[in-house]
């Protein structure tokens, strides 16, 4: 992991966003630092700014330049960065754990075969490895309800597709290197699809529309196609394993 000597790199852009780059490569250490800064900003200056959005190794803070300057936001963020270094994430956020049932392979996971041959493991072994870890939610985004998680076992960390698919069914579960993710909506995408969850990940009629937050924990559970039918449409927040 490379990090600038000052710790973070800040770019102000567009006249209403302050970007904070925590590091240049993805690692769970970096993600942890990002979550600490994210929750510190939420706790300390949420009322001064409009929105705080985490990425994978960076954060965007939206502000209203009629109320505060980007320069002032940047200096507050730099203070919070130093402060967040000395505290434990548990002081800022108590993670919840979610279980996501997944039907692996076949029509549900058209790339399970690829991941199996890429990893030189059987499909069953790939599933076993995917379901045997507790993943940390890195961030949400891209489309509503897409959940980025890490860290995938290197043995099954297959690369993305060279050319993304135009349409991926909602609920698809994919791998992209050391990350795994769930597509909350039908969308285009380039992750290797190994399975599909019957759960509804995002429902705008619920408040909040998705109960999963950055820093939460996720475990995957392998289910049979019959169970997929039975659980289809259950909201992720209402499911208990």
């Amino acid at each position: 992991m490379s990090r600038k000597p000052s710790g973070i790199r800040v770019v102000r852009s567009g006249g209403y966003i302050v970007h904070i780059d925590i590091c240049e490569e993805v690692s769970m250490d970096c993600v942890k630092d990002m979550h600490k800064l994210y929750y510190s900003i939420k706790k300390e200056i949420a009322d001064l700014v409009d929105e705080i959005v985490p990425g994978v190794t960076s954060i965007a803070v939206y502000y209203d330049p009629r109320k505060i300057s980007g320069e002032a936001v940047e200096s507050k963020v730099r203070e919070l960065w130093l402060w967040s270094r000395s505290i434990d994430i548990a002081e800022l956020y108590k993670p919840r754990r979610f279980t996501i049932p997944v039907a692996y392979g076949g029509e549900f996971g058209p790339d399970l075969q690829f991941v199996s041959s890429w990893s030189k493991l059987s499909e069953e072994e790939v599933v076993k490895i995917h379901t045997s870890r507790v993943y940390t939610v890195i961030t949400l985004g891209f489309t509503p309800g897409f959940v980025y998680m890490g860290e995938v076992d290197p043995a099954i960390s297959a690369p993305r597709l060279e050319t993304p698919r135009v349409r991926i069914p909602k609920g698809s579960v994919g791998i992209a290197g050391r990350m795994t993710g769930v597509y909350g909506l039908e969308s285009p995408g380039g992750w290797r699809l190994i399975g599909r969850t019957p759960l509804t990940m995002f429902d705008y009629r619920k408040n909040p529309p998705i109960p999963i937050h950055p820093g939460d924990e996720v475990v995957f559970k392998s289910i049979r196609p019959e169970e997929f039918e039975k659980l289809f449409g259950v909201f992720v927040g209402d499911y208990s394993a």
């Binding site: 330049p65 985004g141 891209f142």
Partner: protein, 288 residues
């Protein structure tokens, strides 16, 4: 901004739902309404009489409003006094077709009937009949400058693109692969983007100029994804992204770098105007 002005011209609050039109539309009016058409400079007919866009129109029950594009502008807005009735979702009444969310959750189809908020059209007409938007704004829509200058600040990855100068020196053309998610531009590619490939996904927003490995810029628009792994070269100011939305395939843009204080000043003006659209009485007396 065009949608907000359309609302103000019919006496609505700025964020009330309007009809967004790519291309042509005919709307049959099931009651008396004050209506306005903005965005670009299309041809507008009330029954068979040609009328002006960017002005309040008193329309009688049973009449038909037709809009046909002229090439001046791409996205037109129809506001109706009382507003289109839609549920607010996550603070917005916009339709997001990819998520099947907002109002109808899909583009309108022939035969759809829209519910309109109840207001007295005669009373509205009394208040708005002599309102006009700033002439400069209308003429910019009627005849966009060519190439259109897009003011932009640096983006989060500008430092990784050593040839970003190419973006600032050359003209780029809007391609047909352009929609509410992003406008793809064609022109001199940035070779450095190929070397970069994918980066850890960063939060993204409207106006971000992404450069995928093929080196050709994509400007993210209103239905932009919220995170993205392509290099972000520049960030176009919101005011100018509005004007970019109005360009048709084949029209040209160029990027102009501005500093943060100029960008912040522009955003301040923009936010003021979005909340309180600049309109005048016909005698050129400032209204509001």
């Amino acid at each position: 901004m065009s949608a907000v002005i359309a609302n103000a011209l019919v006496g609505n609050e700025p964020r009330v739902a309007v009809i967004e039109v790519f291309g042509a539309i005919a709307v049959h009016l099931l009651g008396d309404f004050v209506v306005s058409v903005t965005g670009g400079y299309p041809k507008v007919f009330l029954d068979d009489v040609e009328v002006e866009p960017w002005t309040p129109l008193y329309c009688r029950q049973g009449s038909t409003l037709r809009i046909s594009p002229t090439g001046a502008g791409r996205v037109h807005y129809v506001a109706v006094s009382g507003g289109v009735v839609c549920d607010e979702i996550l603070g917005s009444m916009s339709t997001y077709t990819r998520g099947a969310m907002g109002c109808f959750g899909r583009p309108l189809r022939p035969g759809d009937v829209l519910e309109i908020g109840s207001v007295d059209p005669a009373e509205v007409w009394e208040r708005v009949s002599d309102l006009v938007p700033p002439e400069q704004l209308v003429s910019r829509h009627a005849k966009p400058e060519a190439p259109l200058t897009l003011r932009a600040t640096l983006g989060i990855h500008t430092h990784l693109l050593e040839d970003v100068e190419l973006l600032l020196r050359n003209e780029y053309v809007v391609t047909p692969e352009s929609d509410r998610m992003g406008y793809r531009l064609d022109g001199e590619p940035l070779p450095s983007a190929k070397k970069l490939g994918r980066l850890p996904s960063v939060p993204t927003d409207r106006g971000y100029v992404q450069v995928p490995p093929d080196g050709k810029p994509i400007v993210l628009m209103s239905d932009s994804q919220t995170t993205g792994g392509y290099a972000v070269a520049l960030h176009v100011l919101p005011q100018d992204t509005d004007f970019l939305a109005q360009l048709n395939p084949g029209q040209k843009v160029r990027f102009k770098l501005v500093d943060i204080s100029e960008a912040e000043a522009s955003v301040r003006t923009y936010l003021e105007e979005v909340n309180k659209p600049p309109l005048y009485r016909k005698e050129l007396e400032y209204w509001g």
